[in-house]
Symmetry: C2
Subunit: 162 residues, 2 copies
């Protein structure tokens, strides 16, 4: 059985995603990136699953602090989603270069003030997954900022799948 | 720190999902259910992550066979997504009661002919996740049937999150 690469790409691109800013911090260092590979995973307790690329500069911060925040972006924030998707090696400290307004959560994770809100998630476990790692994490803090419609990856014209 | 339940529900409902039929079979028994908690998780190798409720009648079939198929539904299939979401205890064998047209994949998983296509995924690992379990699985077979727009949970008016 040989995998049909074109069909694999097409069907995986038929999956539907939102666009989110994922943030983490540790020991004075802050990270933020654009994510789409995430989902709720349990109602009780409230768990999420998040895939993070092995070469993400935010990954060590998630591991060291044991937590991250997910900030769903609103439909007007396509440009921000693009900017947050640039690797730190090229973009520098995106909090500074993009002049990001930050909300200090009780948990100490810097969430983005300009987003629909945030959930802070405490990592329960981590699993290797090819070029990425999957975190299973519990929602421990949440705040909603806006009732605006969320930014959807397909509508934004992004294509991080396949 | 106390979790704000209303904010938790609101922000988790700001997550964006598609609607999919997930299928599995073992030893002559077939299962199918509507899923939204899934995502790609790696490009290389192509992996997906899927959350399945502990009380799903398809869960034992996934475990016994070590594989499942994900069939993204198209935007016209809201009624089917609703019907496939009913538990087997009440709906019976949905392949029979809904007269589902099935494609026999090379892997032996029964994929839905009336869908955008399918990816067959071989389970690599399973992690407990509260009321659900998370499978990490590799895409081993794929076929595309249609270029129609995918069914999105928000547009369908479903709300399986929070």
């Amino acid at each position: 059985m040989e995998l049909d690469q074109a069909a694999k790409k097409k069907v995986l691109r038929d999956f539907t995603y939102g666009l989110y800013a994922v943030t983490a911090a540790h020991d004075g260092e802050r990270g933020v990136f654009t994510a789409n590979w995430l989902s709720q995973a349990s109602f009780e307790p409230p768990l999420v699953m998040l895939s993070v690329e092995n070469d993400s500069s935010t990954l060590p911060l998630i591991r060291a602090s044991g937590r991250f925040a997910i900030c769903p972006l609103d439909e007007s924030q396509k440009a921000l989603a693009g900017a947050l998707g640039r690797p730190k090696a090229r973009a520098g400290d995106k909090y500074a270069t993009l002049d990001l307004a930050v909300v200090d959560t009780e948990s100490g994770v810097p969430a983005l003030a300009d987003s629909l809100g945030y959930v802070v998630c405490d990592v329960q476990s981590e699993s290797p997954a090819g070029d990425s790692v999957i975190f299973i994490a519990e929602v421990v803090e949440a705040r909603s900022f806006s009732d605006a419609p969320p930014l959807e990856m397909r509508q934004a014209g992004f294509r991080h799948a396949g």
